[in-house]
């Protein structure tokens, strides 16, 4: 793949930021959108816009067809057995909350355990805290190695017959570690537990095969994979979605409504109460077309290579601390770091003055920040349109920040 060529598809990448070329390295927060995705959304609004699953007029049929075709597109992208295993949601957070609410709460009993690492994003942590609180179940945390990895023997030790749910990110949004979800799924299933995978940082960056992974649920967001904001996916195995209760009730999701009782459509429609995110789903399908044209395996290699180069070069800078796997060890396409005692906000401001956009903060992972004993960190995350030139710009800007704050913060 040729990142320089791909950049031309992304109008925003020609923005000048503070007089500099935009070096967008905040892809783990959200990705930029190619012309093809923007056009697909515009085309829908200009030619097909209507509500779905109701009305018999022509536009209604076109919109319904496009929306359901988007569901099939998603199913193909993650290699689900059926489009009916794909629920459209607002994003990863909503997907995970729906599982915790509609599935977990009915299943959990006092004494049951939910196993998860302490490095989870708040959205794959707080829903479980709440579910545990409501049911009397308890959270059990997996230990992290100093490089942020999780050892399978620790999973073996933590997962018991009391475990009902294992919740884990495929790729950590802070550490950049790739967790062995397939092996963890195998351990969970051996004990009769289900595994919920947070795919927010993995689905956009690597080939996904839910059948091979054997995850029971998978949650991810469209906006982190070139799609619009406000659209996300909840994948669930058909038999689990059948058991799961809807979170929202109202139009679109019902079968028969009586004065005192009602019944629902089958999955996935029973989970999509109200007018769904039609344009978002169509935009997401266009994003998946784009990503598959480039090739997910290619993208995975590209992002990881840039991150590896960034880690290697940042680690050479005196005063830089790298979190997660050290240089030379495998990691996904992001790198989290700090520069001496320079606060990440200050670092990010200096980088921004050079057109380099990174994330600074706790990355919605406060327990992990406490484990590191830092209030915040800086994070650079890569995607298909980033180049080696971007890595150079990052490293140069960090060196400049070091120079800038060097006199004040020795």
């Amino acid at each position: 793949m040729n990142a320089e060529e791909l950049r031309k598809d992304f109008p925003i990448l020609s923005e000048r930021i503070n007089g500099h070329r935009l070096v967008y390295l905040d892809n783990a927060a959200t990705s930029q959108k190619p012309r093809q995705v923007i056009d697909a959304v515009v085309r829908y609004y200009e030619h097909d816009n209507s509500n779905v699953h109701r009305g018999v007029h022509t536009l209604g049929s076109r919109a319904t067809e496009a929306y359901e075709a988007a569901r099939e597109r998603v199913a193909r992208f993650i290699r689900a057995r059926s489009p009916q295993e794909v629920v459209f949601t607002r994003g990863t957070t909503e997907s995970l909350n729906m599982i915790a609410h509609g599935y977990a709460r009915a299943k959990l009993r006092e004494g049951d355990e939910i196993v998860l690492p302490p490095s989870e994003h708040h959205s794959n942590l707080i829903p479980w805290q709440q579910a545990a609180r409501a049911t009397g179940a308890t959270l059990r945390y997996l230990p992290l190695q100093p490089d942020g990895t999780i050892r399978l023997e620790d999973v073996e030790a933590a997962v018991t017959d009391r475990t009902k749910i294992v919740a884990i990110a495929h790729v950590s949004n802070v550490l950049g570690t790739v967790n062995p979800v397939r092996e963890i799924a195998e351990i969970a299933h051996r004990h009769g537990a289900i595994i919920v995978v947070d795919g927010a940082q993995s689905v956009p960056h690597m080939p996904t095969d839910v059948v091979a992974m054997d995850c029971d649920f998978l949650a991810f967001s469209g906006h982190k994979m070139l799609g619009p904001t406000g659209i996300g996916v909840l994948y669930g195995k058909a038999e689990l979605l059948a058991e799961m209760e809807p979170t929202y009730f109202g139009g679109e999701m019902i079968d028969v409504v009586d004065l005192y009782e009602s019944t629902w459509k089958e999955a996935p429609w029973k989970f999509e109460g109200g007018t769904p995110i039609i344009a978002g789903a169509i935009g997401l399908a266009a994003a998946m077309d784009y990503l598959d044209r480039v090739g997910m395996a290619e993208i995975e290699r590209h992002d990881a290579a840039l991150a590896a180069k960034a880690v290697e070069r940042l680690a050479e800078i005196d005063g830089v601390t790298i979190f997660g796997p050290p240089p030379g060890q495998s990691r996904a396409g992001l790198v989290t770091f700090n520069l001496g005692r320079v606060h990440p906000h200050d670092l990010a401001t200096v980088l921004d003055a050079r057109g380099v956009a990174i994330r600074a903060g706790h990355h919605c992972a406060q327990p992990l920040m406490r484990l590191f004993n830092v209030p915040a960190t800086a994070r650079a995350s890569f995607y298909l349109y980033n180049t080696e030139e971007d890595v150079d710009a990052l490293v140069d800007a960090v060196l400049e920040a070091k120079e800038f704050f060097g006199h004040a913060i020795g």
Binding site: H345, T349, A353, G361, H362, P375, F404, F405, A408, I409
Partner: protein, 151 residues
Amino acid sequence: MQLDDLYRQVIMDHYQHPRNRGTLDEGAISVDLRNPSCGDEIKLQLLVDGGVVKDVRFLGSGCSISMASASMMTEAIKGKPLEEAVQLAHTFRAMMRGEDVDLDQLGELEALQGVRKFPARIKCATLAWQALERAASAPEGGRVEDETFGD
């Protein structure tokens, strides 16, 4: 965008050598305030006697702007009537909102004006001042704990 507009020398000096850093004994008003979106936090303590800020201390962690602003604030309000300190907080926040204010009243604090050009950093500069306003509305010797602010 000029970084020197943001990181003026006086700000870097306060960051590097914070004034009035520490804690006060019993009898002080104490406020803990956090900005949950970035993780900055401050503990501000005021010893108010006869309506006058007799002493003030702060502890906290955060970026250069938030810590320098806190340090500069403590210098500015120490020995002042509490009412005047609150007035100063209002003036300071008005400056950060881009309103026309009497800069003479602000003295050295005027250096933080440059933060206005960096919208993402304005909350950093106002954290300590919000803590001050909350402390002023607390009863003497009272505690306001673990609050978060939005703005």
